[in-house]
Amino acid sequence: MSAAVKTPPSGSQLNETPLQREPAVTIFEHGAPGRRAFQCPALDVPAFDPDELLPSHLRRATPPALPEISEPEIVRHYVRLSKRNFDLDSGFYPLGSCTMKHNPRLHERVAALPGHARLHPLQDPARAQGALELMWNLERALAEISGLPHVSLQPSAGSHGELAGVLLTRAYHEDRGEMRHKVLTPDTSHGTNPATVTMAGLQVVALATNPDGGIDLEDLRAKADSDVACLMLTNPNTLGLFDPNIVEIAEIVHGVGATLYYDGANLNAVMGLSRPGDMGFDIVHFNLHKSFTQPHGGGGPGSGPIAVSERIAPYLPVPVIVRDEEGNFVLDHDRFKSIGRLRGFQGNYGCFVRSYAYIRSLGAEGLKDASETAVLNANYLLARLQQEGVAEYLPLAYGELCLHEFVLSGGPMKRELGLKTLDLAKRLLDHGFHPPTVYFPLLVEEALMVEPTETETRETLDAFAAAIAAILREAAEDPEIARHAPYTTPVRRLDEVAAAKHPVIRQAS
């Protein structure tokens, strides 16, 4: 992970790395007509006249142009392709707001047990008691962690949990005979928050951020009225800061009869240390793929369970797991106030298995250790980055300490070194690091949002801080180097404008 000055002339073949030399070839460009990996099981029933079983007007005339390719070719294609990805098992991935913590392989092992992996979602509950007990236990654990008594595991990801949450809020108000139209959310909030509000048929009202990085209470008081259905908050927020006024905020919101929604993407900061329920929130979503180790898979799968207070419980999606008198678990579909279903079946059970394994591995003590170490690591890295040679260019945007992540501003760097946050990020690629989240939250100029997570060592944090310092030093001498970075990645900067202007989103057939 050491630095390397490398400023070859752009496009020069002389300096191509092996991966750069490999042209991108798609699976559709491999193979040849007639090749195959699949061998169809033998027809063991009487042959039939296709036209009789399936009239020709319902039949497909020409088969879809899928690849024609042997098994070894498929394996080689995708194994080679995999090597064009950076991954968490190979390097530091301090992507802010994403909680890129270690994904224990134990979880993959237990999720693959046939009793979990080949269990049909419509298996009679009596013959799926292990699965339902697992879900029940996970619900109980999430309830305890969040401080909210009722849980639905159904939502498929954070944003799906948000949708559930806003629809629950609507249902709650509607059930009381109110139609409230507005949802408050701070300008630091994640894009899914406002997008969700729109999808749920409500209107977003943005709240200002105060100089400490928290909600501007004046603004909140001004906007909190009886047409407000809900306040959506991330706490610690996307600046990595815990809102010091959370108790007052909750009072104000509850005072106008609205609910409080907790975006749990940052729960990794506070497990075992502070609970949304105790802060006054009514609804929380979890990202099992963040705080609870479900691997991100390059963009999913995830899982976004929600926990809610008593007053929201009647509206939870169906089905709900209940335990009958004999201690058996059953699925209750019959909940007349429910908002209904958000998806098929019972949710992303495979993710539940992994996150449940994680919670049982760590227990109360381990989860607290995780949050404490995440916060320690973030503050240590922040301290390292606020040392001489860095702080001048990349000051902390808000506050002094942080929780599990922090946001630096690249404004001074841009002005004084002529380096944008994007350039810094791209140059980090040459150092073998995944860059932090960039340009979010929007209110921080040239934002750099760093979340190291608890599973990284001090050595790694030191190496990352050293890389940042080296890039800044390099830029002080020659900013052009970073401006054209990266150099060593499988491809270099890509033309995103052209891609959006004339979208080529599939292989021509």
């Binding site: 995999s82 080949r118 959006a500």
Partner: protein, 466 residues
């Protein structure tokens, strides 16, 4: 320190010194107001060594009867297809398993190219020109298609065939309630969407019409006729949305060739495990005109500064992280890894294989229906000549729950209890039987035998009881 953290006491001291605090607790105390600090340990069981967690999860798994443990004819949306071993190995590669959404394309070409290939495969399957990189799963894909239609034309009503999966209808209702669109259900006639009711329900206020292919009862709809009817109602037609079973598309006419505007569906049968219902993926394909209103990630081809071919996330101005409240969807994390499984599976199956597999299912399904409907007390729920591909609906002259219990005692799960799923009176006595390529003729014959005895016994005991 847990086994996943690495801060030794020596590390801790160095780190606290650098931060300038005396303890980790101090970091929290300085930031979290006292009233909302949790002053006690969480009430959770103590952590366990890896082997104990394994044993516990194994014990739970053993209390489930999986498709590995019984002869399983359950379907109704998810199917026990064979997942080739190479899918597992690729999904387990760190390089695919552990990255985030590809925000840094230079080091994410693997994932981005997979998305591009996946989109191509879905376009090929559906014969629709544009596809996204996945949505959550089937029913919410239907709802998302509805939202897109509503964004597109802003009309106030959805017309939905009762042939849609009940979970799809329910999910669509949940979503539609949010953005304020009414949902009207069209009944079936002889197992397929009633064409007259369909036409009658469609007017200028209809934002979109929905049908399923094959439908929830296994029946093949006349997709071209339904689309044509929807489009022939005069004025600017509604968006025609089909929920399709992708694995039937080797033999069934492609939605794009039937006048469908948007094809969505559940991708589980493409190389994904059952997993008690998820994670799998939803696919989403449409006509060109919907491209800039589609939900979710889309990968696009481009070049780098040196002219190399490469891939990026594109058309991001649709998305929540750019457009916030104006986004075409709130989706962020979707199902990239499951979609990878999907495209690997489709490559494995191949152009010829998807046809061969479809024909095998077709033949076995018809064989099964023929033999089962020949049993006493068992008939087709609708019509025995209705075209079906891998699933069909029966009506038993006996209590379905009781019959299923009797079969279970013989290690057979004969299929899904239709009434339990749909809640429709007309589905009472209904059993939905799915036949994948894993169910051989011998398996089907065994089902015939066991179900025959179960129905007969149950009728007898009902008769005695009566």
């Amino acid at each position: 320190m847990s086994r996943y953290t690495a801060t030794t006491p020596a590390d801790l001291q160095v780190m606290l010194d650098a931060i300038g605090v005396g303890s980790v607790q101090e970091i929290f105390d300085r930031q979290i107001p006292a009233p909302v600090r949790l002053g006690r340990p969480l009430d959770l069981p103590a952590g366990m060594p890896e082997q104990d967690v394994y044993e516990h999860l194994r014990e739970l798994a053993q209390r489930n009867v999986s498709a590995e443990d019984e002869l399983c004819f359950l379907g109704a949306g998810m199917y026990d297809h064979y997942v080739p071993a190479l899918v597992d190995m690729l999904m387990e590669r760190s390089e695919f398993l552990t990255p985030y959404t590809p925000y840094q394309p230079e080091i994410s070409q693997g994932g981005l190219q997979v998305m591009f290939e996946y989109q191509t495969a879905i376009s090929e399957l559906t014969a629709l020109p544009v596809a996204n990189a996945s949505v959550y799963e089937g029913p919410s894909a239907v709802a998302s298609a509805g939202y897109m239609a509503w964004l597109h034309n802003g009309r106030s009503r959805f017309v939905v065939s009762a042939g849609l999966h009940p979970h799809s209808i329910a999910t669509l209702r949940t979503y539609a309630h949010g953005f304020g669109v009414e949902v009207v259900e069209i009944p079936l006639r002889e197992g397929v969407t009633d064409p007259d009711a369909w036409v009658q329900a469609i007017d200028g206020d209809v934002s979109a019409v929905f049908f399923a292919q094959p439908n929830f009862y296994g029946a093949v709809e006349d997709a071209a006729a339904l689309s044509a009817a929807a489009k022939a109602t005069g004025g600017k037609p509604p968006v025609v949305i089909a929920q399709v079973d992708p694995l039937t598309l080797g033999i069934l006419a492609a939605p794009g060739d039937c006048g469908v505007d948007v094809a969505v569906g559940e991708g589980q049968s493409l190389g994904n495990r059952l997993d008690f219902g998820g994670p799998s993926f939803g696919f989403f394909a449409a006509r060109e005109e919907f491209l800039r209103r589609m939900p979710g990630r889309i990968a696009g081809e481009t070049t780098d500064v040196d002219g190399r071919r490469g891939f990026v996330l594109t058309l991001q101005t649709r998305e929540q992280h750019i457009r916030r409240a104006k986004a075409t969807s709130n989706i962020c994390t979707s199902q990239a890894l499951n979609a990878l499984a999907g495209v690997v599976y489709l490559s494995w199956l191949g152009r010829q294989g998807i046809v061969a597999l479809g024909e095998l299912m077709l033949a076995r399904t018809h064989y099964a229906r023929q033999r089962l409907t020949a049993l006493d007390g068992v008939q087709a729920l609708h019509s025995v000549s209705q075209p079906v591909v891998r699933e069909f609906a029966l009506r038993l002259d006996a209590d379905v729950k009781a019959v299923r219990e009797r079969c279970a005692a013989h290690g057979i799960n004969p299929g899904a209890d239709l009434f339990a799923l749909s809640g429709r009176e007309e589905d009472r006595g209904g059993l939905l039987v799915a036949i994948t390529e894993r169910r051989t003729r011998a398996d089907i014959d065994r089902l015939v035998e066991v179900l025959g005895v179960a129905v007969a016994s149950e009728r007898q005991s009902q008769a005695v009881g009566a």
